[in-house]
Symmetry: C2
């Protein structure tokens, strides 16, 4: 075997074991008996140690030095392995181990603190995590910007400065749109009533199929927090069912189908290779958001979904498709990011982005974080944080060391805006298909233009290749303004 | 760390990863999407390679040479690791790999051959497996008996000669009992009718609880072939539901609960250690059989189960508890081992044991196997094999290289007979509890006398310690004769 082949064989086995780890996590959230938690932690630690040893194999550096790619895909595979290897090599083993240890502890501390509404209980753990991740950022950045080094893990090539500039351009238009909508005379009605659990699950399964999820290579189960997991031929999704919130079930499902279809549609030749996953968190999120929002919350698709829900649930209190459309797109006040609408979601992200960037830069201390969060929230949203679980304790991300992750959510929205604009340009009849409950023309376009490529290209390049233009925030803002100006008769 | 501690730490991680492998097999039979099979094979091969490398770690020999145990449990742990290590060390790596490769292939060939009723299609694969396992047996036996070396993997300490002598003592009494019962004037009625699937599953879950299965540390799902999997705090069982065969669902479930309760009840201090599994296949089977037969097919328990089924299914055609008892214990003709009754099951095992022992000894060729099977079957059962799927193609065992496994089933029955006799001696009121649907006194006795010890003692020693006498076939035969003489009014 050549060095290239040896390297790729080793890498393939590692990725196969990573898939096993992913299956264990899925099992933990869906199937695992409650009493198995401690044993499972030990099983996963043993597997994690195997993965660590494989990643640290000294032969990788030798293979990388000697390997030669025969084609573009081979070169992209090598580049991806080199990238991952270089990042690992820069972080001292002891530091990586200490981060893993602290993350696992602070997750529990955060959950306790949130349940008790006790910020002080969480601060020492968060302080430690911030310090460790800053140390890691410095090791990764090698003199460059620390936050960029962290961000690069989730969104290769993105920079904090670039995102900050984009967010500055977005913020005024989003706030103006939100303020206008919330000040409009007619406000859409919220959904009321109870919706049978079995019927919700039935319709969720149907929606997953409609959006192209391949049940032959996946399955749908219930979990507390919906997620998608796995790659290639085994990509599983979960949803949740609350009797009073059927939209939560349906739109969570469609969102996860966006993630899962991306993984299922990557070229089979890339399976278990360095190219066999989504290009980045941002590109991944763009698929999920586009399925969920630009398609499933569009006026024509809402007309179809309204009729589907009438068939399942009878008259459920909304007078017609137009009212249904306004309700599923309803803007409202609230403190929680995950419950926010398409417009305000991005304001939540911007708040977190600025705060975490200041933390990593050393411009904000963990001790000052709660005050900074609360001040910023009131400035951006117009009302105060009423309790910590509605404020800085609401998200798990920082507790598990995810700094640089938040902006990829809005980046996903921006990418989705670009992709939808390009798609509408090329496929003028999309709405007619959506009105029939058929996202097929859109999901096929995404499959062929984005999903099939996996990690062959860098994230921005992936979007630019698909759209024919460099991604920017314009299409998303235009889409949001057009949509909500119409709904709120602005 | 001492050598002992280093060895046990390494061993513990290996067993944790073996648990992960078990979870993947469970997932494959219960949850895995159909289209994921090829990818799953690659994931399992990668994990298998990890396990292989851990087992082959040269440090194990060094640790074993230097390790000193501090107590009896420590000594037993060392002995078990040494035993497993010695067995592995005797088999050349290439041979082990070739066996694994052939087993995986011949499993598919066997399934095809069985579906097509085509023995010739299976013979080349079987020939190869027999040759390879004989080669392995020779390497393991180092001049000793080859069959014993294979048997020792499943039932440490047992010998082919010892089992043959015991089977020779059992055969006449079993045949006489069978012949008398089948010749009796009054034959129990078979069960007829259809039984709601959901109600079957509901009652199966209830039975699992009644028999002490801990759902906090396990779960019950459906699978084509019922099995139990996992150890310690994550022991999962499966059952099957056929609308016309509720006894299949209920008694399969109770059988698997016997296996699972054994694993769940091993001392927590032994978890993920060399002692943290059942003592042998035979001892394992003894628990499953005792739960299924000596308890759940007893007259008093049948009275309770009859009423339970009446509550679930209304009048289902059996006139009373006595008739119900006779029906669940009904002896009948048939070719299939897994469908055989308590008496004839052992005759099936003896047939396979003699044939596989002759194959390994070189006294029977694979080419002559079908004729030998068919002749022996007619001699033992009194009617001919009508087609290969009812003859030598019915079991998967030989196709996947399991030689020396079959006798552990009857060994399990013999152990169960001994345990039940000893238990009845000590707990004279068992039947009163069974009549209330409460196996608790019996399962608690088994937990404390057998299950809690895991692999602390050798298999026979485990049974002898529990019973107070060396295990022998007498109690099983006495139990069967008493039971079936009464049912058939002999």
């Amino acid at each position: 075997m050549t060095a290239f082949e040896e390297l790729l064989t080793h890498d393939r086995e590692t990725r196969a074991i990573e898939q096993v780890m992913g299956r264990l996590r899925w099992d933990q959230e869906t199937m695992m008996p409650r009493g198995a938690a401690r044993q499972r932690a030990e099983e996963m630690a043993a597997l994690e140690a195997v993965l660590h040893a494989r990643h640290a194999d000294p032969r990788i550096a030798d293979w990388l030095a000697a390997a030669e790619a025969q084609d573009a895909a081979g070169a992209a595979k090598l580049a991806r392995i080199r990238r991952e290897h270089d990042r690992r090599a820069r972080v001292p083993v002891e530091l990586a181990a200490e981060i893993a240890r602290c993350v696992s502890l602070s997750h529990g501390v955060w959950a306790e603190a949130r349940a008790r509404e006790d910020v002080a209980h969480f601060l020492p753990a968060l302080e430690r995590i911030v310090a460790l991740r800053c140390e890691e950022a410095a090791a990764l950045a090698q003199g460059g910007d620390g936050y960029d080094a962290l961000l690069d893990e989730y969104e290769p090539g993105a920079t904090g400065a670039g995102i900050a500039a984009m967010f500055d351009r977005m913020r005024p238009r989003l706030r103006a749109l939100r303020d206008a909508a919330l000040g409009a005379a007619d406000q859409p009605a919220p959904l009321l009533g109870e919706f049978d659990r079995a019927a919700q699950i039935r319709l969720a399964r149907h929606l997953a199929e409609v959006f192209g999820y391949d049940f032959q290579r996946g399955r749908l189960d219930l979990a507390v927090h919906p997620f998608s997991s796995g790659a290639g031929d085994d990509v599983r999704i979960t949803t949740r069912v609350v009797e009073t919130e059927p939209f939560n079930c349906f739109y969570s499902t469609i969102h996860e189908v966006g993630h899962a279809a991306y993984e299922q549609n990557i070229a089979p030749a890339f399976a278990l290779s360095p190219l066999g996953r989504g290009a980045s968190m941002g590109v991944h999120e763009s698929q999920a958001r586009l399925y969920e929002n630009q398609i499933a919350r569009s006026r024509p698709f809402c007309g179809w979904l309204f009729e589907k829900m009438r068939l399942e649930f009878g008259d459920f209190g909304l007078g017609g498709a137009e009212e249904f459309y306004a309700t599923v797109n309803r803007l409202a006040g609230g403190h929680i990011r995950t419950e926010a609408d398409e417009v305000q979601y991005n304001l939540h992200i911007m708040l977190r982005f600025d705060l975490e960037r200041a933390l990593v830069a050393g411009d904000l201390t963990v001790g000052d974080l709660e005050a900074a969060w609360n001040d910023r929230f009131e400035a951006d949203f117009g009302y105060p944080v009423d309790r910590p679980a509605h404020g800085m304790l609401q998200d798990v991300h920082w507790a598990i060391g995810l700094f640089g992750y938040f902006p990829t959510y809005t980046l996903g929205n921006v990418y989705a805006g670009c992709l939808m604009a390009a798609m509408r340009e090329e496929l003028p009849d999309l709405d007619a298909a959506f009105a029939e409950g058929d996202p097929g023309p859109a999901t096929s376009w995404l499959r062929d233009r984005v999903q099939v490529h996996g990690r062959l290209m860098a994230p921005r390049e992936t979007i630019e290749e698909a759209c024919g233009f460099a991604p920017h925030e314009g299409p998303l803002l235009d889409y949001l303004e057009a949509k909500f100006n119409a709904i709120y008769a602005l």
